[in-house]
Point group: C2
Amino acid sequence: MTLSEAAYASLRRDIVRGNLPPGQPLRLEALRARYDMGFSPLREALNRLQAERLVLAAPMRGFVVAPLSLDEMWQAIEARILIESEALRLAIARGGDTWEAGIVAALHALRLAAGRGEAEALEARHQEFHLALISACGSNWLLDFARQLSAATERYRAPILAGESGPRDVQAEHAALAEAAIIRKADVAAAALARHYRLTGELIAARLAA
Amino acid sequence: MTLSEAAYASLRRDIVRGNLPPGQPLRLEALRARYDMGFSPLREALNRLQAERLVLAAPMRGFVVAPLSLDEMWQAIEARILIESEALRLAIARGGDTWEAGIVAALHALRLAAGRGEAEALEARHQEFHLALISACGSNWLLDFARQLSAATERYRAPILAGESGPRDVQAEHAALAEAAIIRKADVAAAALARHYRLTGELIAARLAA
DNA sequence: TAAACAAAGATTTTCGAAAATTATGGAATT
DNA sequence: AATTCCATAATTTTCGAAAATCTTTGTTTA
């Protein structure tokens, strides 16, 4: 892996997890010290992240971690529902045995991780599950948009919903979603997906209000 | 404007217009000579374009202009319809006087440009018209995706449909679309938009088959 | 002849310094 | 006191060379 790629991965991680807080200026010298590399790979990574809306750039005055707001969160969630619902319908129409098996496997891995309670691994399994659902959609554009929106919404989830799930049975939602997809009930699956994401949004909004 | 931004704009233009043909390797030394600047701003621009899927990057072996294919074209067109239909519905629900006026103005400018027949300016007006329709949608994500997809589909349109329009009355399609949007008939407008883009796709596909 | 290897060349990637620009703080002016 | 101006400092941006990696070409070996 090149340094430029490593810089991209590290910065993305640190932004999504909130290690680099929203609104924080990203000074090159500080990043250089933090990640132990020169300017070039860092600037290249920042340019990629700018295109993904994780950082903002202003000419001649550098980069900033993209700020968070409730309004922006709902924009991201609704866009994600639009993209992933359609991708899910396409996958349901086109997916074969491999796709089904991928969903079952991802759901199982997600259950196991949820049982162990390692936030780290759980989050990875969660993303993989949602990716497995739409992976057979056949559109690189939709998959790419979904990937970007996943990172954008994760920025709100991770710091606010750490661990706690309240009266909500998230695993049941996932299971129902997987079931609906596999028995090819597109409308049911799409509705479940939308409900799943909107519920998360409302939970975050409620937590922030308090 | 910084050199990095200039590099981004120039490369994007040259890729969308086909001056840099699909699949062509983008050697740094060649770009340096072509755009008269050092490596750094070029690499930063290429990283941004990579995130927008206009160029492909492979570690340690550089960048390539993203190739074209009929399959990729339809993926982009269908994704565009998905995004812009929803954005159009949102804009119709939220748009005010300024939004309406923007559409009327953009349509008028588009008509004037079409009368003059300068492909250069016509294309700019065309993009501005489609942007005006959705500009009031309230979602930065949707606007950004639409912008990317516009560039992706333009790569197919520009070189293949240069000038010629055949038996199709594109201006009538635009006028009908604007009218439906302004009188807030969301379903009609969304259907017109989808038909508009699919027609273009079919025209390109037919032209390529011949 | 084909495969494996090595040297030379081409290309990408990275670094650190130089250039350009913006931000800061204090003195001078109104 | 508030504003303008200027010098200084901090920061971003850009460059060109050096390092690392890949590709090509020719040679040797099986």
